[in-house]
């Protein structure tokens, strides 16, 4: 969507035009949702962040100075609220082993595994299931980045940067690195952790000229 088009919609929605508001929601909801999911919030928390973000925008419509930044504004709001809720959740539930979570580790009987199973069941081909399984074994940061990049319609780098709090310049290289890793996991069918070890070993051998 062009920024002058967004500008027209924002002004119309600020005047109470519900069709214009719906057009804004339709266009950016994929991005906002992807952010909440990228921060690994469970369904009720993700729903709270999603709804809070839209309620905030409704109150801010006549304060949006530059419509071309609307996506980034929504992304920033969704990120902050996701972090807020993630922090609230961390306070009220027993702490997990951070290192395991950090590796995106999935054990056989965890709630995480149940979610993964349910997700797999929604996919219609073995290839898709394989791809999703490999994706879920990526590092948290890679999953988060790719999840936001996969939002529909595809977000701009400015929006992705705002969504993840990362400099725009590092998105391209990180994206390539995460996709490389995903592809290697698919072809080599090795787990994320083994892969890290392999790569490290390979680099080490290369560095000493073997």
């Amino acid at each position: 969507m062009e920024s002058d088009e967004i500008g027209v919609l924002v002004r119309a929605a600020a005047g109470g035009d519900s069709a214009a508001w719906k057009a804004i929601v339709d266009h950016f909801s994929g991005l906002v949702w992807a952010i909440t999911r990228g921060y690994r919030l469970g369904p009720p928390d993700a729903a709270d962040v999603f709804q809070t973000t839209w309620l905030r925008l409704a109150e801010h419509l006549d304060r949006i100075a530059s419509p071309e930044r609307l996506g980034a504004w929504l992304a920033t709001t969704a990120r902050r609220e996701s972090l807020r809720i993630a922090r609230a959740a961390a306070r009220t539930t027993p702490a997990h082993d951070g290192t395991l979570v950090g590796l995106g580790h999935v054990d056989d009987h965890s709630p995480e595994q149940a979610v993964l199973d349910a997700e797999q069941a929604m996919l219609d081909s073995e290839r898709a299931r394989q791809l999703w399984r490999a994706f879920r074994e990526l590092s948290d940061r890679c999953q988060q980045l790719l999840r936001v990049l996969m939002a529909s319609p595809p977000p701009s780098y400015a929006e992705v940067g705002a969504a993840l709090g990362m400099p725009v310049g590092s998105i391209g290289p990180s994206r390539a690195r995460c996709l490389d890793r995903l592809r290697q996991m698919l072809t080599g069918k090795v787990s994320a952790r083994l892969l890290c070890t392999h790569r490290y070993e390979k680099q080490r051998l290369e560095s000493i000229g073997v």
Binding site: A13, G16, S18, W21, K22, V25, D26, S29, G30, W33, A34, R37, P43, A47, D48, V49, F50, Q51, T52, W54, L55, R56, L57, A58, E59, H60, L61, R63, E81, L83, R84, I85, R87, A88, R91, T92, E119, M122, L123, D124, R127, A128, L131, W132, F135, L146, R147, L149, M150, S152, A176, R177, L179, D180, L182, R183, L186
Partner: protein, 156 residues
Amino acid sequence: MSDETDNADLEEELRQVVAQIDSVPPALLEAAVGALAWRTIDADLAELVFDSLVDQDEAALVRGTTHGRMLSFRARTLSIDVEVTSKGNSRMMVGQLVPPQAVTVDIRHGDSVITIETDELGRFSAGPLQAGPTSLRCRTGGDTLQRPVATAWVAI
């Protein structure tokens, strides 16, 4: 070097998988469309300026008292301090307006509004409320409040 064409293909495949698994739930989309109806055009906005959940340093947490979550909202003419305590999915709220005054407060949350009055010292309490996005709208009636003041929405 990274295989750029392969990556583009893989990304397209992943995009389709994500679309199958994790698109926005229709009920949430509908609620977002409905959010415009909550827009207050006649009110000053009181921004969230403090949230103990994110603004309190770790040391304070460790010293930690067992108080609830403290939220402060500030508008040009009015500040609103709220303490929220949780029990499961229900929330209790105790608050204070500064400057103190007796006004009507609409607690907007979920699909409903709960209306309460503050006492002459600006104090109020409410609950149990369902967990979720909430905003307080303070209506005129007090001595100093010329326009209504609505707080930023925050999930409690």
